[in-house]
C-alpha cells in the first residue's frame, strides 16, 4: 500500500511540476519529430530506389523489344553492355528508429565494367556538411543522449529538494527506508520513460509492418533500451543516495552524463584518429590510376596470362584455342584485371578500417555509450558493417558481370531471349 502511495504522490508531484511536464512534452515532441524525419528519410530512399528500378525496367524492356525484331542473334558483348546494372541498399523498416551512419554512405550505385566499391558515387548523398556535423534529431540519438538528460531533470531533486528544504528527516520518520523511498520514486519515472519510448517503437514497427519479419531485431533493441536505462538509473540512484542537496546532485548527474556521453567517446575518437589517422587510400589510388594504365599497355600474351590467373577455366573456351585475343574482348579482359587489382587494394583498405574498428570495440568496456550506439545501428542496418555488406554485394554483382562478359564472349554464345533472361536474373539477383 505504501508503495502505491509513494507512486501516487510522485504522479501528483510530476503532474504539478510544470517544468517536468514541459520537459517531458518536449521529449515526446522530439520523439515524434525524429520518427517523422526517419520515415521521411526512409521514403526518400525508397522513392529514389523505385525511380532507379523503373528506369532499369524501361531500359530492359527496350532491349527486349529489339530481340523480337532481330533476325540474327546478337553476341554477348552487344547484350551485356546494354543491361543496366544497379545495386541498391534498401532501408530497414526499422530505419525511423535510428538513421545511424546512413548519411555517410550512398545507397544506390550503377555498376559498369569499370566500377569499384570505392567509386565517386559511393559517397554520401548531397547534404549540407555543417548540418551533418550537428547530426539529426533521430530516435536513437534521443534514446542514447537525451533520455539520460530527461532522467536527470526528473530525478535530480528526488530527496535533494527535501534536503534543500530541510525536511528530509521527516521523510525518514514517515517511510523508514530512505533508499526504498528513492527507488520507488525512480521507478515511477523509469516506467514513464520506458512506456513512452516503447510506444513510439511499436508505432514504427506497426506502421512498417515489421513485427514478424524483424522480431529478433526488435527484441534486441528493447533489450538494449532496458540495459541502457537501467545503467543510467543505477548510477543516478546512487548519486541521489550519497549526495546532499539538489544542486550537488544535479552537478554530479550532469558530470556523469558529460563523461559517459561526450568525454569518453570523444577521447576514444581522438585516440583512434591518432593511432589510425584518416588514410588517403594510396593503394586504391594506385590501382585506380597508375596500375590501370600499365595494364592498358600490356602485350596480348601477358594480358592472357593475367586473365587466366583470374579465370582459369577460360582456357577451355572456344576463343582460347585461337592465338590472339579478339580486340572486342580485350577491353573486357582489361576491366576484369583492373577489377581484380581494385579488389586487392580495397581488401587492404577494409583491413585497415577493421583494425580501427577493433580498437573502437576494445574500448566498449569503459565506453558503454558507443557500444549501445553501434549495437543499435547494427540492428537497424545502418552501421559501418551493414554498408560493408552492401559494398560486398556490389562487388559480387560486378564480379558476375565481368565473369559473364568474359566467359560468354570467349565461348561465343549466341544470345537468345532465354539466355538474355538468364543474364538479367544473374545480374539482378542481388537487387531484391
Amino acid at each position: 500500500m505504501r508503495v502505491f502511495n509513494i507512486l501516487f504522490y510522485e504522479f501528483n508531484h510530476f503532474r504539478r511540476s510544470s517544468a517536468k511536464v514541459l520537459t517531458y512534452l518536449i521529449f515526446v515532441f522530439a520523439c515524434i519529430y525524429s520518427i517523422y524525419s526517419g520515415f521521411e528519410l526512409q521514403n526518400q530512399q525508397q522513392t529514389t530506389i523505385e525511380t532507379i528500378k523503373n528506369e532499369q525496367k524501361k531500359e530492359i524492356l527496350l532491349v527486349s523489344k529489339f530481340f523480337q525484331n532481330m533476325s540474327v542473334l546478337p553476341g554477348p558483348l552487344d547484350v551485356l553492355g546494354y543491361i543496366p546494372t544497379y545495386a541498391t541498399k534498401h532501408p530497414s523498416p526499422l530505419l525511423p528508429l535510428g538513421i545511424g551512419q546512413s548519411e555517410q554512405y550512398g545507397y544506390y550505385k550503377k555498376i559498369t565494367n569499370w566500377s569499384s566499391t570505392y567509386d565517386n558515387d559511393m559517397v554520401e548523398e548531397i547534404a549540407n556538411p555543417e548540418r551533418l556535423v550537428n547530426g539529426n534529431i533521430d530516435f536513437s540519438f534521443l534514446i542514447i543522449f537525451l533520455l539520460p538528460i530527461l532522467l536527470i531533470i526528473f530525478t535530480y531533486n528526488i530527496r535533494g529538494f527535501e534536503q534543500d528544504m530541510r525536511f528530509d528527516k521527516l521523510i525518514e520518520i514517515q517511510y523508514g527506508s530512505i533508499s526504498k523511498w528513492i527507488l520507488i520514486r525512480f521507478i515511477f519515472y523509469i516506467t514513464l520513460l520506458l512506456l513512452t519510448v516503447l510506444c513510439f517503437m511499436f508505432f514504427v514497427v506497426i506502421v512498417n509492418d515489421a513485427f514478424f519479419s524483424h522480431i529478433s531485431e526488435i527484441k534486441s533493441l528493447i533489450f538494449l533500451l532496458l540495459i541502457y536505462v537501467l545503467f543510467f538509473t543505477t548510477i543516478f540512484y546512487f548519486i541521489v543516495l550519497k549526495s546532499y542537496g539538489s544542486s550537488a546532485i544535479a552537478f554530479k548527474m550532469i558530470s556523469v552524463w558529460l563523461i559517459l556521453c561526450v568525454i569518453i567517446p570523444g577521447t576514444v575518437h581522438q585516440f583512434a584518429s591518432i593511432i589510425y589517422p584518416t588514410h588517403y587510400m594510396t593503394d586504391y589510388l594506385d590501382s585506380n590510376r597508375k596500375e590501370s594504365y600499365e595494364i592498358f599497355d600490356l602485350p596480348t600474351d601477358s594480358l592472357y596470362v593475367s586473365l587466366l590467373s583470374i579465370y582459369p577455366d577460360l582456357s577451355q573456351t572456344k576463343h582460347a584455342k585461337e592465338n590472339n585475343i579478339n580486340n572486342d574482348y580485350r577491353r573486357n579482359a582489361l576491366s576484369a584485371i583492373i577489377n581484380h587489382m581494385n579488389k586487392s587494394a580495397i581488401n587492404n583498405i577494409e583491413k585497415q578500417n577493421e583494425l580501427k574498428n577493433q580498437l573502437i570495440c576494445s574500448s566498449y568496456w569503459f565506453n558503454p555509450v558507443s557500444f549501445i550506439q553501434n549495437k543499435w545501428n547494427n540492428y537497424i542496418n545502418t552501421d559501418y558493417y551493414s554498408y560493408q555488406e552492401y559494398r560486398s554485394e556490389i562487388q559480387k554483382i560486378l564480379d558476375t558481370k565481368l565473369s559473364l562478359l568474359n566467359f560468354e564472349s570467349w565461348n561465343e554464345t549466341e544470345v537468345t531471349m532465354v539466355v538474355y533472361e538468364d543474364y538479367l536474373k544473374q545480374l539482378n539477383a542481388f537487387m531484391e
Partner: protein, 460 residues
C-alpha cells in the same frame, strides 16, 4: 568594484572543489590541445606522404600523349589547417581527396567518418569540445548561486551597508567568473601558440584572436544569463534548472532542429537528380537547344576559318586537342551552372542557419569557432572551387599541348601540383558578420537587462 572583484576571486580560490576542478580543466585543455596538435601533425605527415607518392607517379608516368595524361589525372588533397587542432569542424565528415581528370568533375572522397564504426556524436576530444560543452557547464555551476548564496548568507546586505551597489556586486561576480573562463581560453591559445608558432602568420594570429573573442563573448552571455535567472527567480534551484534546460536546448536540441528545418525549407537535390540534370545539359546543350554535334560542326568551321584552310587534315595543329578543350569548356559551363547553384543553395542554407543565432548564441559560437579554425563549409567550398579551377588549368594546358604537339618528359615534370591558397579570414569576414553581431547583441542585451534588474531588485 575592484575590491569586490578581488574578494570574489580570493573566495573562489579558497574553495577546494573549485581549485580541483580548475586544475582538472586546465590540465585537460593542455592535454587536448597538445594531442590535437599531435593528431594534426600526424595527419599532415600522412597527407604529405600521399602527395609525394602521387607526384612520383605523375613524374614516372609513361605519357603517350597529353590527352592520356589528362585521363591519368591528378589528385587534390584537402589541406589541414593549423587551427584544425582546436576545432575540426566539418573535416571529419567531408572527404579529403578529389581526383582531378579530363572530361569530368569528381566528388571529394574518403571521409574519416566513413572509415570506421561510429564513435562520438559530439566529435573528438579537441579543445573545441571542452570549450563548447564542458567549460560552459563549469561556468554555469559557478554562477548559478553566486547571487542567491550571498543573499541567503546575509553577506549581500553587509556589502550594501558598506556602500557597494547591487549593480557593482553583480557585475564583479560576473567578471570574476568570466575571468576564470578567459583563463581557460588563454591556456588553450597559449599552448597552441607554443607548439605551432613557427607556422604562425598574421592571418593565423587574427583567426586565433577572433576565436578567443568569440568564446569570450559566449562565456559572458552564459554567465550573465545564469546570474540574470538567479536574480529573477531568487531560488537558486529553479535558476539552475532553467539554465540547464536552456543549455541543453542551445547545445543539443536547437542546432539539430534548426539544421534539419533549414534543409527542409531549402531542400537539396538527390545525387541521382543532380547527376541526371548535369548529364542532360552535357549531352543536350546547356540551354537545351545546342546539341553536341552542332557544336562540333561549328567548332570545325570556326577552326578552319581561323587557320585559313579547307579541311582538318590541312590544319597545322591537332584538331583533337582543340575539340577536347572546347568540350572541356562546355563541361565547365555545365559545372558552373549546376555546382554554382548547389554552392549558392548551401550558402543560403548557412545564411538562414546563421539567423538562428538570434535565439541560440551557441549557433553563432559554433559557426565562428569552425570559421576561425578554417574548418567550416565556406572554407570547404573554397577548397572545392580552387581544386576545380586547378583542374581546368591543368586540362587546358594538356589539351593545348596536344593541339600544338612537341611534348616530352620535361613538359610533364614542369606541371605544378595543386596548391591550396588558404583564404585570409578578413576576406571571409563578411560571411560571419551575423555571428559576430548576434554574440555582441546577446552580450549587450543581457548586460542591459541585468542593470535594469539590479535596480528593480529589492534585497529585503
Amino acid at each position: 568594484m575592484k575590491h569586490i572583484l578581488f574578494n570574489e576571486l580570493i573566495g573562489l580560490f579558497r574553495n577546494r572543489l573549485f581549485m580541483i576542478l580548475l586544475g582538472v580543466f586546465s590540465i585537460s585543455l593542455v592535454l587536448t590541445t597538445y594531442f590535437g596538435i599531435i593528431h594534426n601533425n600526424k595527419q599532415i605527415l600522412s597527407q604529405n606522404d600521399a602527395k609525394e607518392h602521387i607526384r612520383e607517379q605523375w613524374d614516372e608516368m609513361n605519357h603517350t600523349n597529353p590527352h592520356n595524361a589528362a585521363h591519368f589525372g591528378s589528385y587534390a588533397f584537402k589541406p589541414i589547417t593549423i587551427l584544425n587542432s582546436i576545432d575540426e569542424g566539418i573535416n571529419g565528415i567531408t572527404g579529403n581527396v578529389i581526383r582531378l581528370e579530363g572530361h569530368r568533375q569528381n566528388d571529394v572522397m574518403f571521409s574519416e567518418a566513413s572509415q570506421s564504426l561510429l564513435i562520438s556524436n559530439f566529435g573528438k576530444l579537441k579543445p573545441s569540445l571542452l570549450l563548447q560543452f564542458i567549460i560552459p557547464l563549469f561556468l554555469i555551476f559557478l554562477a548559478f548561486n553566486s547571487y542567491s548564496s550571498e543573499r541567503e548568507s546575509g553577506r549581500l546586505k553587509l556589502l550594501l551597508i558598506q556602500g557597494s551597489s547591487l549593480n557593482k556586486i553583480i557585475f564583479s561576480k560576473i567578471i570574476a567568473i568570466w575571468s576564470i573562463g578567459l583563463t581557460l581560453l588563454l591556456i588553450t591559445t597559449f599552448i597552441q601558440f607554443i607548439f605551432t608558432n613557427s607556422l604562425f602568420n598574421i592571418d593565423i594570429l587574427i583567426r586565433l584572436i577572433l576565436l578567443f573573442l568569440s568564446y569570450s563573448l559566449y562565456y559572458l552571455i552564459l554567465i550573465s544569463l545564469t546570474v540574470f535567472l538567479s536574480l529573477l527567480f531568487k531560488n537558486s534551484t529553479s535558476a539552475l534548472s532553467l539554465t540547464l534546460v536552456l543549455w541543453v536546448m542551445w547545445v543539443v536540441f536547437l542546432p539539430k532542429i534548426f539544421g534539419n528545418t533549414v534543409e527542409k525549407i531549402n531542400p537539396l537535390p538527390t545525387r541521382v537528380e543532380f547527376q541526371n540534370n548535369m548529364d542532360n545539359d552535357r549531352s543536350k546543350g546547356i540551354d537545351g537547344h545546342n546539341p553536341s554535334n552542332e557544336r562540333k560542326d561549328e567548332l570545325i568551321k570556326s577552326t578552319l576559318i581561323q587557320y585559313g584552310v579547307n579541311s582538318l587534315s590541312d590544319l597545322p595543329v591537332n584538331f583533337r586537342g582543340i575539340l577536347m578543350q572546347a568540350d572541356e569548356e562546355y563541361g565547365n559551363s555545365v559545372w558552373d551552372k549546376h555546382f554554382g547553384a548547389l554552392y549558392l543553395q548551401l550558402t543560403n542554407q548557412k545564411n538562414i542557419y546563421q539567423f538562428t543565432g538570434l535565439i541560440n548564441p551557441f549557433a553563432s559560437l559554433q559557426s565562428l569557432s569552425m570559421a576561425t579554425a578554417g574548418s567550416d563549409m565556406f572554407h570547404h567550398l573554397n577548397f572545392l572551387s580552387q581544386a576545380e579551377y586547378y583542374r581546368r588549368d591543368l586540362i587546358e594546358l594538356l589539351n593545348n599541348k596536344w593541339r600544338d604537339g612537341d611534348w616530352d618528359e620535361n613538359f610533364y615534370k614542369s606541371i605544378k601540383d595543386f596548391h591550396y591558397n588558404s583564404p585570409s579570414f578578413l576576406s571571409f569576414f563578411w560571411k560571419y558578420i551575423l555571428d559576430f553581431v548576434f554574440l555582441f547583441l546577446w552580450s549587450i542585451i543581457l548586460v542591459v537587462l541585468l542593470k535594469y534588474l539590479t535596480k528593480k531588485t529589492s534585497i529585503v
